[in-house]
C-alpha cells in the first residue's frame, strides 16, 4: 500500500512540474521581444489563415485568457501551424520523434552494456594498474563536448576512410514503405553507427562509475562475506552475489540518462544532420519558426519529465528500503 501511495504522490508532483514547465514555455514565447502574435502567425499566411489562428489561439484576447486557451489546445494536442512546413506542428513532431528515440535508445543500450561490464570489472580489479588508467580516461570522456567527438569521428571514419556516410538516415532517393522498413534495413545501420557511437562514448561513463562504486559498496556487505566464507569461487561471489545487487541503481539511472541524452541529441543530431527533434528545435529557433520550436521544446520536456517519473517509480518499486520508512 505504501508503495502505491508513494507512487501516486510522486506522479501528482510530476504532473505539477509538467504544468509549471508548460507555463514557463507559454510565458517565454508570449513575452519575447517583438510582436506577441509572432508566436503563431507568420506575416506570409493568408488573411483567412491568420484569422483562423487568431480565433483558435485567442490572440486578440488578454494574456490570461490566452493562457487558458493555450492549455485547452495543448490537452487536445493542438500546437499550431509550422511557419516553414505549412503543416500542423504536432504532426511534424510526431514524425520526427521515432528517429530521435531510435538514436537515443540504441546508443544508450550500447553504453549501458559496456558501462556495466567495465564497471564491474574495475571494481573487481580494485587498485590495479587498469583502474589507475581507466578512471581518468572515463572522466575525460565525460569532459568531451559531444559534438566535437562527433566531428572527429566524422572526419576520420567518413571523410578520410570513407567507411560511413556523412549524415542523414538514408541515401538520396532511397524510399522505404514504412519507418520499420527503414530501421531494419542494413543501410540504416551505416547511417546510425557514427552518431550512436558518439553518444555512447559520452554516455558510458555514468553506468560505469555507478556500477563500480555500487559494487565496491556491496562487496563490503555481510552476505558477500558470507558467500566467501561458504567457500564459493571468486567468480560466483562477484557475478552471482555482488553484481546482481549492484545492478539495481544502475538500471534506474537508465531512465534519467534517456532524459539527459535527449538534451545532448540537440547538438549531435545537428552534426550528423540526423532528422530528429533536437535538430528540428535548433533549425526552428534559427528560422524563427516559433510554433515548431515551442512544440519541439515541449516534446523534449515531456520525455525528460516522464523519464524522471519512471526512474522514481522504479526506485520505489524495486528497492524495498524506500517507501516503508
Amino acid at each position: 500500500m505504501s508503495h502505491l501511495k508513494a507512487a501516486a504522490s510522486r506522479t501528482l508532483q510530476l504532473v505539477l512540474v509538467l504544468w509549471a514547465v508548460v507555463t514557463i514555455l507559454f510565458l517565454m514565447f508570449r513575452l519575447m521581444p517583438g510582436n506577441p502574435l509572432a508566436a503563431y502567425i507568420d506575416p506570409t499566411f493568408t488573411v483567412e489563415q491568420q484569422e483562423a489562428l487568431m480565433a483558435q489561439f485567442g490572440l486578440d484576447r488578454p494574456l490570461w485568457e490566452q493562457y487558458f486557451i493555450y492549455l485547452g489546445n495543448l490537452v487536445q494536442g493542438e500546437l499550431g501551424q509550422s511557419f516553414r512546413y505549412r503543416e500542423p506542428v504536432a504532426e511534424r513532431i510526431l514524425a520526427l520523434l521515432p528517429n530521435t528515440l531510435v538514436l537515443t535508445f540504441s546508443s544508450l543500450i550500447v553504453a549501458y552494456a559496456f558501462g556495466i561490464l567495465a564497471g564491474a570489472y574495475l571494481a573487481w580489479r580494485r587498485g590495479s594498474a587498469a583502474e589507475q588508467v581507466a578512471i581518468p580516461l572515463v572522466l575525460t570522456t565525460r569532459a568531451m563536448p559531444e559534438f566535437w567527438l562527433g566531428m572527429v569521428l566524422l572526419a576520420v571514419f567518413s571523410f578520410w576512410l570513407g567507411w560511413f556516410p556523412a549524415g542523414g538516415t538514408r541515401s538520396a532517393g532511397a524510399e522505404y514503405e514504412s519507418l520499420l522498413d527503414l530501421y531494419t534495413s542494413g543501410e540504416f545501420l551505416t547511417y546510425l553507427a557514427l552518431p550512436a557511437l558518439t553518444l555512447a562514448i559520452y554516455s558510458q561513463g555514468l553506468p560505469l562509475l555507478l556500477m563500480r562504486s555500487n559494487m565496491l559498496d556491496v562487496m563490503k556487505e555481510d552476505f558477500v562475506t558470507m558467500a566467501r566464507i561458504k567457500g564459493l569461487s571468486n567468480w560466483t561471489v562477484v557475478v552471482r552475489h555482488a553484481a546482481r545487487n549492484a545492478l539495481l541503481p544502475v538500471m534506474t539511472s537508465f531512465a534519467i540518462a534517456v532524459g539527459y541524452q535527449l538534451q545532448g541529441n540537440v547538438v549531435v543530431e545537428s552534426v550528423f544532420s540526423w532528422p530528429g527533434l533536437g535538430r528540428e528545435l535548433v533549425n526552428a529557433v534559427s528560422a524563427s519558426d516559433y510554433p515548431l520550436a515551442q512544440g519541439a521544446f515541449l516534446m523534449i520536456a515531456v520525455v525528460v519529465i516522464l523519464m524522471n517519473l519512471i526512474a522514481d517509480l522504479l526506485y520505489t518499486l524495486l528497492d524495498p528500503r524506500v517507501g516503508h520508512a
Binding site: A143, M151, V152, F159, Q263, V266, A301
Partner: protein, 300 residues
C-alpha cells in the same frame, strides 16, 4: 608580544577563507587540475602578449594572397590558418578568455544561488523548504540545453545571457545537496547551543552552518565550471553564441561550416576540443580530490 599573539590567533580573512575551502592539495589529481586552471588563467590574462596575431585579423601572404587554409608550420603559423586567413593559434589563446569568463561567472552564480537555496530550505524547513524544493523539481523538468538555446535566441546572443540561462536552471543540483547537508548540521550540538544562547537565525546560518558547507559549494562550483564551458561551446557551435567574442565553440562552428572536416584540417578543429577537455576535466579532477576529502569512505 601581545600583538603577535593576537595576529597569530586570528589569521587574515583570506587565509581563513582558504582554510575553510579545504583545498585538496595532497591529491595528485586535484593538484594537476589546479595546475591546468593556473596555466589557462595565465594564458587568459596575457592573451594579448602570447597571441602572435589579432584573432579576427584576416592575414595575407607576402605575395598579397589570402593566407587561407595554411597547414601548421607554414609561414610561421604554429597551428595553421582558417579558411578566412585567421591564425588558429591566436584564436585558441584568446578563446581561454571567454571560456574562463563564462566558466567562472556561471559557476559562481550557480554555487551562490544553490548555496543560498540549500541553506534557507534546510535551515528553516516547513513550507519554505517545500516551496524551494518544488522549484528545484521544476528546474529538473526543464531540458537544459533547449532552454539555453531558446533564451539565447530570444534575448540578444551574448555571453551574459548564456550565463543567465545556466544560473536559472543549474542551481538545482547544488541546492538539493546543500539542503541535505544543512539538515544534518542543523541538529548538531553546537547549533543547539548557539540557539539556546540567543543567537539570531542569521547569525547561526552565517557563523555556524555556512562555513561547514563552503567546501561543498566549491565542489559544485567546480563541476559547474565544466558544465558552463561545455554549454557555451554547444551554444556557439549551434550558432547562438556571442558573435563579438572568439570562443572555442565559435572556432568549432567556423571549422564545421567551412568544410574543415572534408578538408581534413585537424589542426583547426582538434585543438579547441582538446582545450575544452583539459579545462573541464581539470574541474572533475579537483572534484574527485574533494570527494575523497569530504567523503573519505568512498576512497577506501
Amino acid at each position: 608580544m601581545r600583538e603577535v599573539a593576537a595576529t597569530r590567533r586570528s589569521p587574515g580573512l583570506l587565509a581563513r577563507l582558504f582554510g575553510a575551502l579545504k583545498l585538496p592539495l595532497n591529491d595528485p589529481f586535484a593538484v594537476s587540475g589546479l595546475l591546468i586552471y593556473a596555466i589557462f588563467l595565465v594564458t587568459a590574462v596575457f592573451a594579448d602578449q602570447i597571441a602572435p596575431y589579432d584573432p579576427t585579423e584576416i592575414l595575407y601572404t607576402p605575395e598579397y594572397d589570402l593566407a587561407a587554409d595554411l597547414r601548421p608550420g607554414e609561414q610561421g603559423h604554429l597551428l595553421g590558418t582558417t579558411s578566412l586567413g585567421r591564425d588558429v593559434f591566436s584564436q585558441i589563446v584568446h578563446g581561454t578568455r571567454s571560456a574562463l569568463l563564462i566558466g567562472v561567472t556561471a559557476a559562481f552564480m550557480v554555487a551562490l544561488i544553490g548555496s543560498i537555496v540549500g541553506l534557507v530550505a534546510g535551515y528553516f524547513g516547513g513550507w519554505v523548504d517545500a516551496v524551494l524544493m518544488r522549484l528545484a523539481d521544476i528546474a529538473f523538468g526543464i531540458p537544459f540545453l533547449p532552454f539555453v538555446i531558446v533564451l539565447a535566441a530570444f534575448l540578444e546572443p551574448s555571453i551574459w545571457n548564456v550565463v543567465l540561462a545556466m544560473a536559472l536552471v543549474l542551481w538545482r543540483d547544488t541546492g538539493r545537496v546543500i539542503r541535505s547537508q544543512v539538515l544534518t548540521l542543523r541538529s548538531r550540538g553546537y547549533v543547539d547551543a548557539a540557539r539556546v544562547s540567543g543567537s539570531s537565525d542569521l547569525k547561526i546560518i552565517l557563523r555556524h552552518i555556512a562555513p561547514n558547507i563552503l567546501p561543498l559549494s566549491f565542489l559544485y562550483g567546480s563541476i559547474a565550471i565544466g558544465w558552463a564551458i561545455l554549454t557555451e561551446a554547444s551554444i556557439s557551435f549551434l550558432g547562438f553564441g556571442d558573435p563579438q567574442s572568439i570562443s572555442w565553440g565559435y572556432m568549432l562552428q567556423d571549422a564545421f561550416a567551412s568544410q574543415a572536416l572534408a578538408k581534413q584540417a585537424y589542426y583547426w578543429f582538434v585543438p579547441p576540443g582538446i582545450c575544452i577537455i583539459l579545462v573541464v576535466s581539470a574541474g572533475f579532477f579537483i572534484t574527485r580530490g574533494y570527494e575523497n576529502l569530504l567523503f573519505p569512505k568512498l576512497g577506501k
